[in-house]
Amino acid sequence: MASHNYKAITEALLFTAGDAGLSNDQIANALNISQLEAEQLMSEMQENYQMDESKGIEIAIYAEKYQFVTKKDLSDYIKLLADSPSPSTLTQAGLETLAIIAYKQPVTRVQIEEVRGVKTDGPVHTLIARGLIKEVGRNEGAGRAILYGTTEEFLDYLGLKDLSELPPLPEDVEEDEKEDSDLFFESLKNGLSANE
């Protein structure tokens, strides 16, 4: 069967491409089939890998590229291979800054700082260094401030196919989670007010 063959080829291609991933276009070209046929083939393959519990990998679409990834629920086994199992995740400041850029892009640093109420040079710098945001242009008018936007790397980092997959910006939210800093500051505060 020709389609069986296609799957073998695609599997080899995806394996070779690794985290660079392959676009639907590239797959269609490599197999010499139409875009639509490639799409169908890929969604079929995605399902095959997903459903088959004897498979440790699956096909993800990050930044509109297909790539092989290990299955989520196997991560504990993989982490056993590493000495330091926790990957370097972003700090709260980094996440807040990234969220503002993701939802408001293109956005200047001053605009980010207006929302957060603090200086944001550090987080912006870190996000650039990690390739999650980039300069996407300059603001019109005086100062020509740098405008920031997210990158493809950002989509991959959060496991998103494209920007439309960003969770909708929460409208008004009632805070419910208690912060764990409470007890720590509580005792200090009490101590201070007792002294007064």
């Binding site: 491409a17 969220a99 603090v118 805070e175 800093s181």
Partner: protein
Amino acid sequence: MEYTVKVDAFEGPLDLLLHLIQGLEIDIYDIPMAEISEQYTLYIKAMSVLELNTASEYLVMAATLMSIKSRMLLPKQEEQWEEDQQFEEDPREELVEKLIEYRKYKKAATELKDKEQERSMHFTKPPEDLSSYAQPDVSDEKMQIELADLIGAFNKLMRRKKIKKPMSTRITRQEISIETRMTEILETIRADARPKPFSALFPVAEKPHMVVSFLAVLELVKRQEIHINQDHNFSEIMVGSTEGVSLVGQS
């Protein structure tokens, strides 16, 4: 060095205010300014006692709170609007808007964190290096090699040999001279008539040795004792002896 406690509890004055509002179970649309100002000041004091980095933004916010508080003590201004509606100008309005806006993105940040977490549980691998299969350049002319190509090749080599920067730096004396390496390299190349791959001239995977070797190669090229060729794009750079091959360099 100052002793600093790294507490990522608050990401700025707005974050601290939200924390207070939530802790005191205050309605964000009706903030009791006296209470919040007092609490806020207490936290700032606590932070300075701990020598946390009380950035100027926190102090600006403290001043803002005081100013709002004092304005609220003033008799209320009532403005007459068309359609006979009465609006009270609330000095807290701007602050509330800011807080709500900030809270929105703070929440969004936690959602991104979940995404980040989830994505980090999927592992991938870097792509295979397929450069050796890349289509050679159609032109059959001998490629000119420039210094940049050599440096590029050198860098690739360094990476391939996985030379890591030492954790601590120590000063070592130069163990081999460029002259010595030049002689060695010439010997290697003249061992038989066939050109040797560029990488063969770097047998020792130590940074100083590789740098000296590279400088030696450059010097030999300059003196036209060796010649360097690359047949086509991505093919191995080959180094051969000029002895007996070329018309130059025979003394």
